[in-house]
Amino acid sequence: MKNFLLPILFLLSITVYSQNSELTVIGNKKGVPAQLSTSNLKSIFMGNQPKWSDGSKVIIAMMKFTTDGGKNTCSKLYQKSTTDVTKHWLTVSMKGVIDAPVFFNTAAELQNFVANTAGAIGVFDGTVTASTAKTVLIDGKTSF
């Protein structure tokens, strides 16, 4: 029980901490470029690009829209409500052009996933902790 409670407490503290904080984009070492423009990033996150230039699949990772990070992502990246983004992904998933995006409850989990999944690109709020994933610069900045 104690083992279970600790991560939850940790999670809660992060959520409170990262309210309205900046978003960071990380990518897997394979396939994902080191730099992207804002419009590029938006296009990728709309699901318009199924593959990277080296041919590996584009896999999108986001914080769940119930988390602050998720909400931030919607407002900053998509400039849409969480509902609209969800609906958007519903239609994209139906078309099946790209793999369905993966959603996470914690930034740590997200980073871990991106670090270990080829072609994966993720957006989250907070600091980069995973050493194996690279931070993708957006318009030359580490966060936006």
Partner: protein
């Protein structure tokens, strides 16, 4: 219309086979096809539901993996025509009192297809819908699948059914043919045999190898034909025997008939001669009766002749004496007496002569056949006396009152006088016989009476001869005119009297003879003779 057993069996089998064929050709495939479609529909429905579930999980939990997997699975189906995601928007009116649901197609796969949400299933397309509800949105998954594969499978089923039906039909018809041959052949053989038996050929036999009812029937038929043959042979033999017997019997009978006929002829001849003899005897008998009467009649005049002759002899002696005496007056008186006596002698002599002549006339067996005008009254009276005296000559004690009533108007009538005389004699003899019989019964106050009367009636003469005897009972009356019928003791009467009389009156004179009688009071015989005959 004649339909053979073979045809009937074939038709029956054909009907059954056709039914089977129709079943396997039409009903079975349609059943299969429907089952196929139903299965497919539920499969498609399940897929729609899976997608709907995926969508609702994706929306509520932001987990799109399930949806993706479901979609990938559905997309693998080559028959898939489209998958459409429809958003159901609830739109309220301004005062929020009522709402309507608006369908809004969010996405369709493949994208080039656009389908309206109110599409329905058709023969070539199956459409299945599955709704989902989340806090984000309500919606529906609409799945369209073509029925091409089902149709192909249905075609296959139909082909198979056709093959199976053909096989069933073929096998059925073969069985039918075999059955009809197996049943109809022995039946036809039986029918032929029966026909031949009906035409009289009792040698026909049915060969049957089948070990069933028909085989048994054939055996029974053969037995029956054998029995019939035996029976008919027996009947034929019996018939022959009967005919033989009949023929021999006929022969015997003919012989017998011949013999009998000869015998009869002989006895008829005998009878005829006997009858002739009897008639002769009757005549003789009546002659006897007559003779007695005649003798009596002759005796009378003879007595007169004798007496007067004797008296005359005495008178002649007296005359001689008186002549010698010269007594003239006395002589005259005596001569006168002699003359008177002589007249009497002649008269009585003539009378005797007449009587003899009459007797001779009567004794003549066959009269001349010439009818002569005769005084019936005189004839009747003469025979009355003859009969009466004849009887009295035989029987001294006999006595009877005689009454006569002769009609003078009768005059003369053309008759055979001897024959009619004989009739009257017969009737009188019978009358006297019965009154005498009754007299001998000593009934107090009985006076035997016989009456004879004649009467002219227009063109006939009626002679009535009555007695006051005992009459004739009805039973006897019916027979009295039959020849040889008599109630007299044997040896006394011939029974020919009335029979001969009847013949004489009716045949000989065209007249009538009948009897009126009252039992115990007497009988009247009535003879009617026509003047013209």
């Amino acid at each position: 219309m004649f339909i053979g057993v073979k045809t009937k069996i074939l038709l029956t089998v054909l009907a059954i086979v056709l039914l089977f064929t129709i079943f396997s050709l039409v009903y079975f495939p349609s059943l299969q096809g429907r089952a196929l479609r139903t299965n497919y529909q539920s499969e498609v429905q399940n897929q729609a539901k899976t997608i709907a579930l995926g969508a609702s999980i994706a929306l509520s939990e932001q987990n799109f993996k399930g949806l993706k997997t479901a979609m990938d699975f559905v997309k693998e189906n080559e028959e898939l025509r489209f998958v459409t995601l429809i958003q159901k928007d609830t739109i309220w009116n301004t005062d929020s009192s009522s709402y309507k649901v608006e369908d809004n197609v969010m996405v369709t796969f493949p994208e080039e297809n656009t389908y309206s949400s109110n599409l329905v299933s058709s023969d070539s397309l199956i459409i299945m819908k599955a709704p989902f509800r989340t806090s984000i949105m309500d919606g529906e998954i609409m799945l369209g699948v073509s029925t091409k594969s089902i149709n192909i499978r249905q075609k296959k089923i139909r082909m198979t059914a056709l093959l199976i039906s053909g096989a069933i039909f073929l096998v059925g018809m073969l069985i039918g043919l075999w059955l009809s041959r197996n049943i109809s052949h022995p039946v036809q053989a039986l029918r032929k045999a029966a026909k031949r038996v009906g035409e009289g050929d009792l040698t026909s036999e049915v060969k049957s190898s089948s070990k069933d009812e028909i085989g048994e029937l054939a055996v029974a038929f053969n037995n029956m034909v054998n029995d019939i043959k035996k029976l008919s042979d027996l009947t034929l033999e019996q018939e022959k025997e009967k005919q033989h017997l009949l023929a021999s019997q006929n022969e015997a009978l003919e012989k017998q008939v011949e013999e009998r006929t000869a015998e009869l002829r002989q006895s008829l001849e005998n009878l005829q001669s006997t009858q002739a003899q009897l008639v002769q005897a009757e005549k003789m008998a009546s002659l006897g009766e007559l003779t007695a009467g005649i003798a009596h009649e002759i005796q009378n005049p003879l007595n007169f002749v004798n007496n007067f002759s004797e008296v005359n002899a005495e008178l002649l002696a007296e005359l001689e004496e008186e002549l010698n005496n010269g007594n003239h007056e006395e002589v005259k008186q005596l001569i006168q007496d002699l003359k008177d006596n002589e007249i009497k002698i002649v008269h009585h002599g003539k009378r005797a002569d007449t009587i003899v002549k009459n007797m001779l006339q009567h004794s003549r067996t066959n009269s001349t056949g010439v009818k002569e005008p005769t005084d019936i009254n005189a004839l009747a009276d003469e025979y009355l006396r003859l009969a009466y005296h004849g009887l009295r000559a035989k029987n001294k004690s006999f006595n009877a009152a005689l009454k006569t009533d002769y009609d003078e108007a009768v005059g003369k009538i053309n008759i055979l006088s001897q024959d009619i005389g004989r009739v009257i004699l017969n009737l009188l003899t019978n009358a006297f016989y019965v009154v005498n019989e009754k007299r001998e019964m000593n009934i107090a106050g009985y006076e035997p009476t016989v009456s004879v009367s004649t009467k002219k009636k227009d063109d006939i003469v009626e002679i009535r001869i009555s007695d006051n005897g005992n009459g004739i009972p009805q039973k006897v009356l019916d027979k009295i005119f039959q020849p040889f019928f008599t109630t007299k003791p044997t040896g006394q009467g011939t029974g020919l009297g009335l029979s001969l009389s009847y013949d004489i009156i009716s045949k000989g004179h065209g007249g009538e003879l009948r009897a009126e009688t009252k039992e115990g009071e007497g009988t009247t015989f009535i003879v009617q003779l026509p003047y013209k005959s």
